[in-house]
């Protein structure tokens, strides 16, 4: 087994772990955290695809790598919005 496959399989397992946490945990903050664990898994699977596409003197296919990079930033933006929603919900609850 190549190390790309190994990391791809790890990514698949992380998707499972993250999804389970999102469905089972009840604390909204921990759900957001599990969403990020899941995201890491998805990116790793894609990273394995990029590594397998190594060629032309590059260690990996630069196109999926660039898209993972974009994805990381978008995932952060989504996380920040989700956290802001949770905090707003808690402060609304606080006033009641």
């Amino acid at each position: 087994m190549t190390s790309a496959t190994l990391f791809g399989l790890a990514g698949a397992a992380l998707v499972g772990i993250g999804l389970f946490g999102m469905l089972v945990r009840t604390d909204p903050l921990l759900r957001i955290l599990c969403f990020n664990l899941l995201g890491g898994g998805v990116f790793l699977v894609f990273g394995a695809v990029a590594r397998r596409g190594a060629g032309a003197g590059f260690g990996g296919d630069p196109v999926p790598q660039a898209i993972i990079l974009t994805g990381l930033v978008v995932a952060f933006a989504a996380t920040a919005l989700a956290v802001a929603l949770v905090l707003r919900l808690a402060s609304a609850e606080d006033k009641r």
Binding site: S3, L6, F7, G8, L9, A10, A12, V15, G16, I17, L19, F20, G21, L23, V24, T26, D27, L29, L30, I32, L33, C34, N36, L37, G40, F43, V45, G47, A48, R52, G53, A54, A56, F58, G60, D61, P62, V63, Q65, A66, I67, I68, L69, L72, V73, V74, F76, A77, A80, L81, V83, A84, V86, L87, R88, L89, A90, S91, A92, E93
Partner: protein
């Protein structure tokens, strides 16, 4: 290979422990460790640009964002907890998640051989951009539209976070007030680190054209260097009504679109760069986007304006 197995085992254990942690703080501490391990995994996958972004955003900014939320929620009455699923349901969910993971694993094992790759076309067309880093080439030229949309997503996220402002707080100072610490270890770091961090961010941005690095990594470092003095209570963020603040986060996408439209007029395609102008135009976009994204990322961590804290 031994190193990879060790890394994968550590990653899975940390992820599992983070998912199962009883306290939010423990979960976030483990999540930061997970980000550090992922950084090493990206290096092993020969994706150094991604490793840098993971170190800056995955381990750094995301962790601090979640920690800030833990801190704020600790002082507030939390909404009534939801009922967790019962044991039978939990088992069912576990089986479903395991099936999904197994299916994804099968996909990984059944990937076509030889792997389809765009590495060769990228290598063939990279000289036209005068760039040495293929990932920057993809981000700024071959798939520039994705990067443009992404910068718009970050801007939109800031607008959405601001839109959650409670009644009467609009236009105020974003985020919770931070306890002021004029001296002590945090103030020391908040004063000593930013000058060094700004130099490093500029270095990462500059080498990004030819070596791993670039605007996202640089922007994340700059955001962290603004957040440190904010956490120490040494600086107050500008009120969100400030014009210059709004212009700063918008100018990156605006310049990107303007250069794209100029390409449509001159070269006949949106975001097409005239021959010989690719590198200077890319560098202009990168520099301006870095400033916009850095401020936007920091504002995302700082959060929604509070009614309690007004100018």
């Amino acid at each position: 290979m031994i190193a990879d197995l060790l890394l994968v085992a550590a990653m899975l254990i940390v992820a599992l422990a983070s998912m199962l942690a009883r306290q939010a703080f423990t979960a976030v501490a483990l999540f930061i460790a997970y980000g550090l391990l992922l950084t090493l995994a990206w290096v092993r996958l020969a994706a150094v640009d991604v490793a840098m972004t993971e170190a800056a955003i995955g381990a750094g900014l995301s962790g601090v964002l979640l920690l800030g939320a833990v801190r704020r929620l600790a002082t507030q009455a939390s909404p009534p907890p939801e009922q967790p699923p019962g044991p039978a349901m939990t088992l069912l969910i576990a089986l479903g998640c395991a099936a999904l993971a197994a299916a994804l694993g099968a996909v990984v094992l059944l990937l076509p051989n030889p792997a389809p790759s765009l590495a060769a076309p990228v290598a063939a067309n990279l000289p036209a951009t005068d760039l040495g880093n293929p990932v920057t080439g993809v981000l700024m030229s071959f798939r520039a539209l994705d990067t443009l949309l992404e910068s718009a997503v970050v801007l939109l996220a800031v607008v959405c976070v601001w839109a959650l402002t409670p009644e009467g707080g609009w236009g105020g100072v974003p985020g919770a007030a931070q306890p002021v610490q004029r001296d002590g270890p945090l103030a020391l770091l908040a004063r000593a680190l930013p000058p060094l961090g700004i130099v490093i961010a500029m270095h990462i941005l500059w080498v990004g054209a030819d070596a791993p690095g670039g605007k996202f990594q640089a922007a994340a470092i700059l955001a962290a260097m603004w957040l440190l003095p904010w956490m120490a209570g040494l600086v107050t963020p500008p009120p969100i009504a400030a014009r210059w603040l709004r212009w700063t986060i918008a100018i990156g996408p605006v310049v990107f679109i303007a250069i794209g439209l100029a390409g449509a007029v001159i070269e006949g395609a949106f975001l097409a760069y005239p021959p010989g102008w690719a590198k200077p135009l890319i560098l202009i976009i990168e520099f301006i986007l870095t400033a916009s994204i850095a401020v936007a990322l920091a504002l995302l961590v700082i959060g929604t304006p509070d009614t309690a804290q007004r100018r």
